[in-house]
Amino acid sequence: MKQVLHLRINGQPYEVYVPVHKTLLEVLREDLNLTGTKHGCELGECGACTVLVDGTPRLACLALPIELQGHEITTIEGLAAGNTLHTLQTTFAELGAAQCGYCTPGMLLSAKALLDHHPHPTRDEIKHALVGNLCRCTGYAKIYEAVERAALRQADKETWFQVDE
């Protein structure tokens, strides 16, 4: 059964006509061409499809859009403000926290939710916040460092040395 749904994604209103059993992951990727949200299992096991719903991490592969009307959905495409990257995006790029990059969108959104609620997380709090996001490339170390650097930078509003490419 298809139905018209009204969704708010990255601050923009969207109207989609989709089968009601279609997951948020499928609607984002297939109907809205927001392919930044990834899938690694479609069973809620890997965290690759993490998006934010009203600022809270949510697995898009287990979420039904019909339940999310009236809520604010944030995907990786909504993390940067125009061409200005979010601090976490900058630090992930600087420190090599994205290798193959496939877990990165989900990882970034989980990290954003953490920093929005706990601006000064300990290493242990970071580990707990990211425990549902699997990464097979990095061993997580560079990801922790990137979250910590972003927390510092957001707190101090420092002018950090930008790595000159």
Binding site: C46, E77, L85, Q89, Y102, G139
Partner: protein
């Protein structure tokens, strides 16, 4: 070669060139691609581990509205396989299925749901055969033979080699020890599920976008199976969301997507489900090992005899190479004057095994390093000191004809020993820490232990997979009159940073920034062949080809600039976007000016570079696996805490020292080391391909345990930068080697903590508790394989060692 401090790019911790695209979600992986009129493809897979296909009826599926094509094995009758000698795969099985998950049919439909409904309408009648599910099954000749080719029944391949005088070596020994080990299979588990998108245009040209690590081999397999000349096939490797060896074979879904696109005239995409990724596999071979070594009282090895049996799964894949690799690299760490290797690979009714990070070497390295730890314990020697004393030397060869160009292993050992406080721990640490950690609940306690292990890996296979005299890597550099530089190479970035490597090298040589370099890779129409991202070959091979191409074009630019500036070309250098005379800095041109002068003088500016590894294979059959331009070295100390009540092993910290030659980008090298070590922790403690009643027990990310943030220890990486003469700026490999010492270091640390030997991985709580029970009963404090099958290997090929190999008594 410039001095380190004169590098502007090399040796600096720069971001990769795709870093911004990766953090914004802009990168388009294969499944992110769509084309107009695209259809969705799906594969129907066997539900039996071993069966004959009696009858296959697709007529009901074909009639389903929205279905555009249904194909079976008859549509793709030509067999293929990555190794020329193992052409045993059918994209869709014709007469026989050999594992649960073996594909038998494929459909293309208007959407995924219709495709899935169509699969359900295909009727397959199977006649089940007895499944062969283990090494012991495979050696049982009463069970059916999987393939009509094999060295013997279900023994795919035998290897038997003897280097030096093994009898004399054991006679010279003052202590001899034998052990058996088992390394369970496990899988790559890339986060990205494989996807392939094929388009067949009306002019008869086929294009495939795929998540592959080796587009060149896919290109060759498509030509063979589809019977289209390679000139009319274009394979593009989309950015790969994790490979680790699992995307290095030509795969059934790639071939099926192409065939479906050809039949329907519409683009067809096949994306595997996570469950299908487990069936596609090509992961770590389960390996049973037997090791016997003779040593002097100070630990010097006088002879080593190594036997392996690899459980290969249903098809050949890279398995012949894997079999050789299970014996080839034991010799490149410590001096060994006599070595006998007997290996075999068997076929079983499981998803095919292949190359996973470390390809055939983590299993023997695990056994060998635990075996050495036992010898050190038996002889009362410090395991670190015993190893460092007999490390191989630069400029020598091993007994099996491998050439050591540079070896930083001794320094690696020293650095991890120092960083981990190893010596203090051996002297005074153990007892104190045990008491500190004791919970005091009856006899249970948490006990800490430290373990050490070392390893080595190749910087690229010295010989190609299919026999040829062609370069292993080709690079084209083109310079535009606007100052833009484009570099073209068939190499494939799988997240390790190989695209960035090209940009770094060109930028360093031409005095530009990586952002000025446009990198085009992994496209068989546009880029010269590079064999692919496997065997840790890219930094050395692609890097050398890139330097050759870049330096040629640099010479032209400098020559044109020299004429203009009226100075010798040798006095000019390129830095920060200018061409400048080092003797007279007033004489300079911008890069763009110099490029325009060069284009006016020479015409369109482009150059090519090629790399072929040095020909160093020894004079014997089977010598093609093992040679490499150079070898990396790694030493690891693991600190674990073992809970004797629950059997749980927690890795607290890893200290890892890696000699990867010069670190062209230390941040990327450390990233590879940390990622490899993390994967080693997973293999050591939890990852396993387990089967029950012919079925893969755990084809999901939830049940297949891999380390999360909470399971992954802190990893301290120390780079030991030997400058290797073969590598670009002295670089070696980093992608695979750092995984290798981690499982044995953990096993040795478990012994240090609780005094039991777990001679197999993964080291699960169940095994730890069983070993503690054995110890409490007064039995041998060990779990692991009880014996090694009594297999008759063929008579060995006896090979005289090279003259500069380690010798007995020297």
């Amino acid at each position: 070669m410039p001095h380190n401090d004169t590098f502007s790019i090399i040796g600096h911790a720069l971001p990769t060139i795709e870093a911004h695209a990766k953090v914004t979600g802009e990168v388009r992986y294969a499944d992110d691609l769509t084309l107009p009129r695209m259809l969705y493809g799906k594969l129907l897979r066997s539900v039996y581990p071993h069966a004959r296909i009696l009858h296959l009826d697709t007529s009901r599926a074909e009639k389903l509205p929205g279905v555009f094509a249904v194909i079976t094995g008859k549509d793709l009758p030509i067999k293929y396989g990555i190794m020329p000698s193992s052409q045993d795969e059918e994209a869709l099985c014709i007469e026989r299925v050999r594992f649960v998950g073996d594909p038998v049919a494929a459909v293309a439909a208007i959407d995924e749901e219709t495709a899935n409904r169509a699969l359900a309408l295909i009727e397959v009648e199977y006649a089940p055969l007895a499944p062969v599910m283990s090494i012991r099954d495979a050696l049982d000749e009463r069970l059916p033979q999987l393939h009509d080719y094999a060295d013997h029944h279900n023994i795919h391949k035998f290897v038997s080699l003897e280097f030096g005088d093994i009898e004399a070596g054991f006679q010279a020994a003052e202590y001899i020890r034998e052990d058996t080990f088992f390394y369970e299979g496990n899988t790559h588990l890339p986060l990205e599920q494989h996807a392939a998108l094929a388009q067949f245009s009306s002019d008869g040209k086929l294009t495939l976008w795929s998540s592959t690590q080796a587009p060149h081999y896919v290109h060759r397999a498509l030509e063979k199976t589809l019977q289209i000349p390679r000139a009319r096939i274009r394979v593009i490797a989309a950015p790969v969301g994790g490979g680790f060896g699992g995307k290095a074979d030509p795969l059934a879904h790639e071939i099926a997507a192409c065939k479906l696109a050809m039949l329907t005239g519409r683009p067809v995409k096949i994306t595997l489900t996570r469950e299908e990724v487990f069936y596609t596999h090509r992961g770590r071979h389960p390996v049973l090992m037997w090791i016997k070594s003779g040593v002097k009282r100070d630990g010097q090895i006088t002879a080593l005899h190594f036997k392996t049996i690899l459980d290969g799964g249903a098809y050949g894949s890279y398995g012949i190479a894997t079999t050789y690799y299970s014996g080839a690299l034991q010799t490149v760490t410590y001096k060994i004057p006599a070595y006998k290797f007997e290996g075999m690979r068997v076929f079983t009714n499981k998803p095919p095994c292949g190359p996973k990070r470390g390809h055939g070497t983590p299993q023997p390295r695990f056994g060998f390093e635990v075996h050495l730890d036992k010898i050190a314990h038996d002889l009362g020697l410090d395991p670190a000191e015993m190893r460092r004393r007999y490390v191989v030397e630069d400029g020598t060869q091993t007994v099996n004809h491998l050439t050591i160009t540079s070896c930083g292993l001794r320094e690696c050992i020293d650095r991890v020993v120092e960083a981990s406080g190893w010596k203090n721990w051996q002297a005074v640490g153990k007892r104190q820490e045990v008491e500190n950690l004791s919970r005091g609940t009856q006899h249970a306690a948490r006990r800490r232990g430290l373990g050490l292990a070392c390893s080595s890996y190749l910087s690229g296979a010295g010989l190609p997979i299919y026999w040829n005299d062609l370069p292993h890597s080709g690079v084209i550099v083109k310079v535009d009159r606007g100052g833009g530089v484009a570099v073209f190479c068939g190499s494939t970035d799988i997240g390790q940073g190989s695209n960035s490597l090209l940009a770094y090298l060109v930028a360093e040589e031409l005095g530009l920034r990586p952002a000025d370099i446009q990198v085009f890779t992994a496209d068989t129409d546009l880029t010269p062949v590079d064999l692919g991202s496997y065997s840790s070959r890219v930094t050395v091979m692609t890097g050398n080809a890139c330097l050759q191409a870049t330096r040629q074009i640099k010479q032209k630019i400098l020559q044109a600039a020299a004429e203009k500036l009226l100075v010798p070309a040798e006095s000019l250098s390129m830095r920060k976007g200018i061409v400048i005379c080092e003797d007279d800095e007033q004489r300079q041109l911008s890069f763009v000016q110099a490029v325009n002068l060069a284009e006016a003088k020479f015409g369109t500016l482009s150059s090519t570079g090629s790399y072929t590894p040095p020909k160093r294979a020894g004079p014997f059959k089977g010598s093609g696996v093992g040679p490499s331009p150079s070898y990396s070295y790694t030493a690891c100390v693991a600190a674990v805490v073992v809970d004797t009540e629950t059997g749980e092993v927690k890795v607290e910290k890893l200290w890892l020292a890696h000699d990867g030659g010069r670190a062209l980008n230390p941040q990327l090298v450390i990233g590879q080391a940390e990622g490899g070590a993390y994967m080693g922790v997973g293999e050591a403690l939890m990852e396993e391909s387990a089967f029950r009643r012919g079925m893969l027990k755990i084809p999901s990310l939830l049940d297949y345990k891999s380390p999360t943030t909470l399971d992954t220890p802190a990893i301290q990486t120390i780079l030991v930068e030997t400058l290797d003469p073969e590598g670009p700026y002295g670089a070696k490999e980093a992608g695979q080697g750092p995984l290798l010492p981690v499982p044995p270091a953990i096993a040795n640390a478990v012994f240090d903590a609780i005094g039991v030997r777990i001679d197999q991985v993964p080291i699960t709580p169940e095994l730890v508790l069983r070993a503690l029970e054995e110890k409490a009963k007064g039995n041998a404090p060990r779990v692991g394989p009880k014996d090694f099958p009594n297999v008759k290997y063929p008579n060995p090929i006896k090979v005289e060692p090279p003259t500069n190999a380690p010798r007995l008594g020297v």
